[in-house]
Subunit: 332 residues, 2 copies
């Protein structure tokens, strides 16, 4: 009888730190598809930092770890799906997922380039596009700064800005990442925030000021960017990796210095982004991103780990800033 | 020989606090108009908190205190102006101002209602209108909160919102001010932030949340409003009365808690407003405000002091939160 290996929450992270003891591998049964369901074999899952935020709220001990995955239909009891179809779906961290058709995000045209749907054509790509284009309204010749620029969203936001004709500066945590940004992805300049003074580095890297800052981190990098914004600049608030925990009534950290005074003095807008709100624009976004992939203007940058059992280590490495590009765990 | 009484800066405020010793009254000569100049007799000046911000930068010891005033042309050596014309101009705190035509902001239709140009049709009205309408895009039925709601800008922003069909809650510093807002100006609710807990009062006053927050204060009221914002809400950052000093490299206060996390979670926009940037929309704004004045929908609220010698006390009272409405010093 086939086994469905799956990873569940063993213990909620103590002190907020996710570790290998947060997770437990279980052997489950492979479910049998009832009428109106589709059995899928997970082939790849996306590993993203958002998991950290749902620990203890949406994710409780004993629950399957949530994840978006690419999967192959192995048995279908629904007319819309056939064995062999490739789908994008919330598979979770498991080898087999039994899904209702309404749960399946999309049937993919083929298994070729299916991983694009975990990166540039998936949630990361849409967040990057909507932040930079739909909300940020990037213009050619503008100066764009992206933080967490080697991360899944940041590397795409920076590339999109470059393709749109902007001058792009990426802020990331390591000289090796700076090399990837500038040598492989066409960023015009890279800053390793772990060396030197971020304020001085931003001044040197964009002495004329910043038109559009795509913020994935909050914290000191946001503060430094605020001080370097041009008049009329826009800050798209997409993520806050430097603030590990969700807000509750007790623990809301102080905001960046300069808000709201600098916003007034320099007529800056700070725009909170939640990409799913902009789903009406997803098709337009995907069409443009797809064209950039096909023309070769957009470089695929993936960071692949093999084996479901290595998913916890992949996530922990991601949270520690270890990834470059879209972090994916391949299951077969 | 006629004398031009004028008030200059005697000493820069120590520890940031403006006091009567900041100023000195001087007797000057009334200047003779050269060809291409216009001699004006100041009839009224606007007293605003912005003066505090320019002390030590634009305003140095010995300099005439800056102010926008309404004045009567007493002698003109320029073809565009005639004796008896009423003008709006940067007269400063003095009885007579010799001005070039390019310095004069506007020739007013008559002396009737000329004070409107220091309030609803002047800088305060334009800041309120552009913040609420041009940038804030207020909609009928929205919930609008205004801080410093009894101040020169706030009382107008609140009234404009009420005329546009919004539900308006004003936050101000005193039970007497709350009475003015609700009884005279048509605010739907008023909150005295000096009593009770501002967070609880905002929850009680707009339990459904805030669509548009017009911020004149920054500080704890901004923090409380942030926590009460609806999804997709807008915060127009117009002023920061709770932060008396301008930013320098040493002294930039921490920003409001919840930025940027709440901006992301609730898709909130914070929009820095500098009304002079929107001068292209001024005529449209003035036309609409003028119509509201003529129809009686907009109530004039002025706080008048008589005598140039009382201008320092008027400013000091304003900075201490003493004013209700547009604070004006009449010179004759």
């Amino acid at each position: 009888m086939p086994i469905n290996r799956r990873i569940v929450i063993a213990n909620l992270p103590q002190g907020g730190e996710i570790s290998s003891s947060t997770f437990r591998m279980e052997d489950g049964e492979v479910p049998q598809p009832e009428p109106g369901t589709v059995l899928c074999r997970t082939t790849a899952i996306f590993v993203g930092s958002a998991l950290r935020r749902v620990m203890g709220s949406y994710l409780q001990p004993g629950m399957l770890v949530m994840a978006t995955g690419v999967a192959r239909v192995v048995a279908s009891r629904d007319a819309s799906f056939s064995e062999g179809d490739t789908v994008l779906a919330p598979t979770g961290w498991q080898e087999y997922a039994l899904l209702k058709p309404s749960q399946i995000s999309a049937k993919l045209p083929s298994a070729d380039n299916a991983l694009d749907y975990l990166g540039p054509l998936g949630g990361s790509g849409l967040a990057a596009y909507h932040g930079l284009v739909t909300v940020g309204r990037v213009q050619a010749s503008e100066v764009v700064v992206v933080s967490a620029a080697a991360g899944s969203v940041g590397q795409l936001a920076g590339q999109f800005a470059r393709i749109k004709g902007a001058r792009v500066i990426g802020v990331c945590g390591g000289a090796d990442k700076v090399d990837v940004l500038t040598a492989k992805l066409g960023f015009h300049h890279g800053i390793n925030y772990k060396e030197g003074n971020i304020q001085e580095e931003l001044k040197a890297g964009c002495p004329e000021g910043i038109d559009l800052y795509f913020d994935n981190t909050s914290g000191p990098i946001l503060e430094a960017a605020l001080l370097q914004m041009k008049r009329g600049g826009r800050i798209v608030c997409c993520g806050r990796l430097s603030e590990p925990h969700d807000y509750d009534s007790e623990h809301v950290p102080a905001g960046p210095r300069g808000v709201p005074g600098l916003l007034i003095q320099r007529r800056i807008s700070m725009l909170g982004l939640w990409a799913p709100d902009l789903a009406a624009e997803d098709e337009k976004a995907r069409n443009e991103i797809r064209a950039w992939l096909e023309s070769g203007e957009l470089t695929r940058l993936v960071d692949i780990t093999h084996g479901l059992e290595n998913a916890p280590a992949s996530l922990i490495g991601n949270l520690a800033g270890g990834n470059v590009g879209t972090r994916i765990v391949m299951l077969e």
